[in-house]
């Protein structure tokens, strides 16, 4: 596992200790409730707990009392925030006994309970990409990958789902791009328990495609680039081998 130094001494609050629920009226989100479980934490009793709702340039802070006495504020209204649908939350435990408040623990990028559930590891967004057919952007939760497809292509929604040519040409390239980004740009801090959730999802996905040959040194600093590129090639090769669309693709090409 890659060694990381935490000079700040700041602790990470496990996300299973936090549960955020949105209160809705019809389809409109009005406020939220936070269930925070700090009973067995070693944080000082007088440390102050804040919950922040944020998205884009919007940020609103709510005081939830102290570790000793966590209180849901009367007003957790979200109505003055612009981007309610994609809101995320962070929880901070702050030691305010010195002149400047020090963050002693935090949890970030928490999604409300209602928007969790089964998720795709590659959400698709349809948008105007000029004359590009597709691109991968890293704008999901924790900068996870999102596949953007050009909405100006007639029938692109159906093509993306059902067209064997699209499947055989685009998805292998997409997977290759994401694996390279994850391994070489973002870097994986642990192959068994990565701190970034989407890394875990993608490693699980890759393990299903190619159960053997998993590079056990992927989370180390000194892996051989060529070995990893070769492993990615094998993952893509196996992904393609498993696709039933291949014969249809060949037939379509043959028919011209």
């Amino acid at each position: 596992m890659k060694r990381r130094f935490n000079y700040t001494g700041r602790k990470t609050i496990p996300k299973d200790k936090i549960s955020i629920t949105l209160n809705k009226e019809g389809n409109n989100t009005k406020s939220f409730q936070a269930d925070l479980k700090f009973e067995r934490s070693n944080f000082p009793n007088n440390a102050v707990v804040y919950v922040e709702a944020y998205h884009k340039t919007e940020n609103k802070r709510y005081n939830f009392g102290t570790i000793w006495n966590i209180i849901q504020p009367i007003n957790t209204s979200l109505s003055d925030l612009a981007y309610i649908e994609d809101l995320k939350f962070r929880v901070l435990v702050v030691d305010e006994t010195s002149v400047h408040g020090r963050i002693i623990a935090h949890a970030d990028k928490i999604k409300p309970v209602s928007s969790r559930g089964k998720k795709s590891i590659l959400p698709v967004r349809f948008c105007d990409l000029g004359q590009q057919i597709w691109r991968v952007v890293y704008s999901g939760d924790e900068d996870s990958p999102v596949l953007e497809l050009n909405e100006n292509i007639p029938g692109i929604h159906i093509i993306a789902k059902n067209d064997p040519q699209f499947t055989m040409l685009v998805y292998p390239a997409v997977i290759r791009e994401i694996l390279k980004h994850m391994v070489f740009i973002e870097r994986i801090d642990s192959i068994s328990d990565p701190s970034t959730e989407w890394h875990k999802d993608w490693l699980d996905f890759v393990r299903k495609i190619l159960p053997n040959d998993f590079p056990e040194n992927l989370d180390e600093d000194d892996f051989d680039n060529d070995d990893i590129l070769h492993w990615i090639d094998k993952v893509i090769e196996e992904f393609c081998n498993n696709r039933n669309e291949w014969s249809e693709y060949v037939m379509q090409v043959g028919e011209g």
Binding site: K56, T57, E58, S79, D80, H100, G101, R102, D128
Partner: protein
């Protein structure tokens, strides 16, 4: 004229016009103020087609006043990308002017408002309103001093870091450090990559301090007090 919202077809047409303009400077701006391409924003908000802006700050103030007169909250409009794209279309002659027979067309995100936050701040109208409506006249000046068709390094460096641009106290500190009230411009060298305590260093330092300190609850003097020595010279 009342503010309108471009629909998908309108945005496509506007983009097409911008692309064609690169090849033919004399091409006529299409009429997108018809139902096929746009619809009126409700409640109606009148804007002055004759209004000319010199700086982006003037535009930010004008738009903020227009919306506030009608009691429209920032939260109600900030993510209506078709509205910002229409305003860019409406004021296109100003935000993409022809100077000495030449037109300087930049990336499309300056004119067509993107929902991707990494591009949103590039939009010349949306980001102008976004910044002005948060920081108002006094503290938006460091970002919006530029001519109405120009971006600047302060916007590029700050506005893409959303938690930083939205923190009023950090922006007060940035103004205190880097704004020269006599020149009515940023201090010389603040955008330099080499000079100690430049704006890139400022953002990097704030990022580091945020790991330890509860910056959100600190006022501008508190933030100034914990900045390292390299920023001392800028306080003068």
């Amino acid at each position: 004229m009342y503010i309108r919202i471009l629909n998908k077809l309108g945005i496509h047409k506007f983009k097409d016009f911008i692309q064609k303009l690169k090849e033919d400077i004399n091409i006529k701006k299409p009429n997108l103020n018809i139902k096929q391409y746009s619809e009126e924003y409700i409640p109606q908000i009148e804007i002055n087609s004759e209004k000319n802006f010199i700086t982006r700050k003037e535009m930010g103030k004008y738009l903020t006043d227009c919306f506030e007169k009608k009691h429209i909250n920032r939260a109600d409009i900030i993510d209506i990308n078709g509205l910002w794209s229409w305003l860019a279309y409406f004021w296109f002659d100003q935000i993409c002017p022809i100077r000495n027979g030449n037109i300087d067309i930049h990336e499309i995100a300056r004119y067509i408002c993107s929902s991707d936050y990494r591009d949103y701040y590039r939009h010349l109208v949306a980001s102008t309103y976004d910044i002005y409506s948060i920081h108002r006249s006094k503290n938006s000046k460091i970002f919006l001093y530029s001519l109405v068709d120009k971006s600047n390094d302060f916007i590029e460096q700050f506005a893409s870091r959303q938690d930083i641009i939205s923190n009023a106290n950090i922006i007060v500190v940035a103004n205190q450090l880097y704004w020269n009230p006599e020149r009515d411009k940023p201090k010389k060298g603040s955008e330099s990559k080499r000079r100690p305590g430049n704006i890139r260093r400022f953002i990097k330092t704030i990022r580091q301090l945020e790991l330890t300190y509860d910056i959100y609850s600190m006022n501008s003097s508190d933030i100034l007090a914990i900045l390292p020595e390299e920023f001392n010279n800028w306080e003068m």
